[in-house]
Amino acid sequence: MSQKKSGFHPAGYEPVLLARLGKPNSRHIDGYVADGGYSSWKKILSGVKTGEWTPVKVTDLVKASGLRGRGGAGFPTGLKWTFVPPKEKRGGKPVYLLCNCDESEPGTFKDRLLIETDPHQLLEGMMLASFALDVKHAYIYIRGEMVHGAEYLNEAVSEAYAKGFLGTDIQGSGLTLDITVHRGAGAYICGEETALIESLEGKRGHPRIKPPFPAVSGVWSSPTVVNNVETLACVKHILDRGPDWFKTLGRNEKNTGPKLYCISGHVERPGVYEGPMGLPFLELLALAGGVRGGKKIKAVIPGGASAPMLTAEEVQSLPLDFDGVAAAKSMLGSAAIMVMDENTDMVKAVTNISKFFAHESCGQCTPCREGTPWLNKMLKRIVAGQGKRQDLDLMLQIANQMGNGMTICVFADAAIAPVLSGVTKFRSEFEAYIAKSAALDYQLPAPAAVTDKVAARVAEGIHS
């Protein structure tokens, strides 16, 4: 990691998730334990028999912390855990915990940093969550392209087994936990939790119809909790330092804890930054050295490619947390903040994003399978100087036909967000392209051309 330890967080903020960044061998267990790692897990291992530690107690701590999922939707983690049916209602089925390490939202690269620099932090979080959820086998689903990450995670898992933090009857506690690292094949859609489940089962990554929700019937038809890497890492710190401490970080009761921000695009120092939940956008931008070359901002995508774009005005006093960004009619998503400066060609930017979604649609649902390439084809045509007068309104109409329940998963809603926001907020740029177009209107082939063709075919004896 080229990132300097100082400067990746606001002054006066003590990093939590990236506290061990830059330490030699930060990814190995000895260093982790030396820094106080696995103390919460040990607490539980020794306290489970005495009854000092119960799953409910862990869940309650997580609930009290106000932790919300870092995978994109910001769903309260403790609440999600309580959706798993109690043991007597599970029909003998095991509960699974799946760590979502598919991280493929464009602009997002925080989970990768976590697993490459401090994988034991994640493992400990998974151990604690597994205890809370009565999980005996947890999986880390890691995106196929993260070759090193998978390697490091596997090493870390072996180390944890060797040190007796995983396995059967762990340290005489009576608890059993195995963790398996499963590599995906590199499809964005496999980050969607039910597609991830299908993929883990060995099938194509097709999102499932919900309900049933994974908490009731997930992987192998068993109750399943899917949590993001960063979410699970937070669990470790909640257990280490308590929910009250957790809540001191953050803007308000509903947006708590430490947060990793991935900032990229036209900034001086793109990278992962840690701060409290609700860090003001301008503060993050300053940490990243401001807009490259001292230029002005034109647009910001605040939460990965799926998040609606914001204009320069809209980000001026934007707090980067779930409710703050939602209030600006976008979303914090995976906290991938992409900054575009005044020279950015918004038409090309939207076209580029639409290409990503056209490429990544799983293809199950008609509106998404057909709509994403349609939008992309139209945008490419506009960029190529073949735009039509009607194109912009048509694009907005098409996009509106794809979202809001028209599809199985919310991928389609994600795919249309950049188009809807881009075309609406930067319409004049699109119009400028179209104004220069060579063929402004749809045209039918000249009737003469058609009759000539038919005549030629009749002459050839093809038509009679």
Binding site: R204, A358, H359, E360, G363, P367, R369, W374, K388, G405
Partner: protein, 566 residues
Amino acid sequence: MAKVTVDGREVVVPDNGNVLEACRIAGVDVPHFCYHPRLSIVGQCRMCMVEIEGMPKIQASCTVPVRDGMVVSASSEKALAARNATMEFLLINHPLDCPICDQAGECKLQDNAFAAGLPVSRTSEPRRQYPGYDRTGIGPHVIADMTRCIQCTRCIRFCAEIAGTGELTFIERGGHTIVWTHEGKVLDNEWSACTADVCPVGALTTKDFRFRKRVWWLDKARSVCTGCEIGCNISIEHRDRQVFRFLPRPNPDVNDYWMCDYGRFRAEELNAQDFTRPVVKDGGSTKETNWGDALERIQKAVDEAIKAKGAASILVIGSANLSTEENYLLNSLFRTRLGVPNVEFVVDNGALRRIKNPKAEGNQEGWLKGLESAPNSRGAVAAGVTRALSDSALEKLSSGKFTPAVLYVADAAFAKKASDPAFVQAARKAGFVAVHARTKNALTEVADVVLPVASLSGKEGTFVNSQRRIQAFSIAIVPPPVVRTDMEVLLHLGKRWGVFDTRWTAGDVFELLKKEIPLYADAERESRAVAGYPAVISPASAYDSIFSPEEAEAKLIAAAAEGRNG
């Protein structure tokens, strides 16, 4: 049972039903592509969108299980707009060349576009092409054309869930998705052509029928497959006295929605008709003659044999290919009226045929199984014809221990034995040989009289299948002039001894069966159980409109809702 209100109409729906089914029970036609009553719910096509009270977003009705008190708006503006949207998306890459597509006329995309689509297209982008995946055979019977595929996955699910063979899959992703066989596989299972049935569009068609006839010209008749003892319900599809294809006719108690390729592709064999006039042997030479002459010769030979050697000198061979009515007439003429003790039949065991129907009675491990390669051994037995065992006259004839004075074979192709040279040689020794035949075989070569009879497509009657279910089949094509049905032949022959009325229909004969055969006392021609046999009752009314699987299913669901068939 759940009470659901659809567009203001309250209906009762089985608890495991979904909103799409509720709409259909309510008589509200919600268009759909990926939903199939026997395949898993995938909610992929997004065609069946409706509004449901209490759910803020539009819903794919097939994916929502019914709940008591649900209120559904299937025809609201929002629902119609959503469906129009899906139609538009489906059509932007579709070739829209229905005039040269063989599915036209029975295409769901065409129907739904007609009913709900936009009158104009808003796309000007190039349409997707599938070089290498268009008009390509993917198995012995099925041709795939991905330009027409709407990715509904019905075919994939058929192979995975019904056939259990899983040859088909999605390859590629998103807008590039192709439905094809797994690498190195061919679509070659026992029911491969059912994939073309479930395919709502022209993406999968059968080599055998493709471009043979525009489907709107085809007339349809309700019939039963004779390929094995399962007796899959079929529709004989014909035009201008020619059979073009069989389609499975949904019957949830028997073949469900399916039939096997073997049975299906016997369809065009029905068009073979070697004998169009009675043929008789005079001295060494054969000649065509009229019915009067042919029947006269048989009557004479029979009377003479009885007089000279007694009725036991006659052997009559019935057939498991003939209807119960025909076997009954054969038996009552020869055994009851003329006192012939030897009225027998044999049936072959063929390749094992299977139909997936876990809900049907008489299935083993979810399958109905058919071993006998003829449809009606049970009907022949019920009609009084004896199943030939080792000490039977038929076996004695085969082994040369019995030489009948008259051999009357009511089906020249009664079993494989009919073409066995040893049997034919033994048969030839009989004093007089008469056969009913449609096509030539070794037995017709040696017969003194060949009576030209119609194929299944020209007949009506009933069979009793392996579940002991009485199944009626009806006439598709009036036989060619002079050719008669087996029943007509037997009625006319019987009239010569004053036993039958030549005006009888199969229905009249069935009434006789009911009177004379105790087993049939409570039977009904279609779909009711034979008394004394396991009571398998299917709601006949459910498949009155049998040619639309959807309609049939909707009626079945409705019947279930009313508690008519449990």
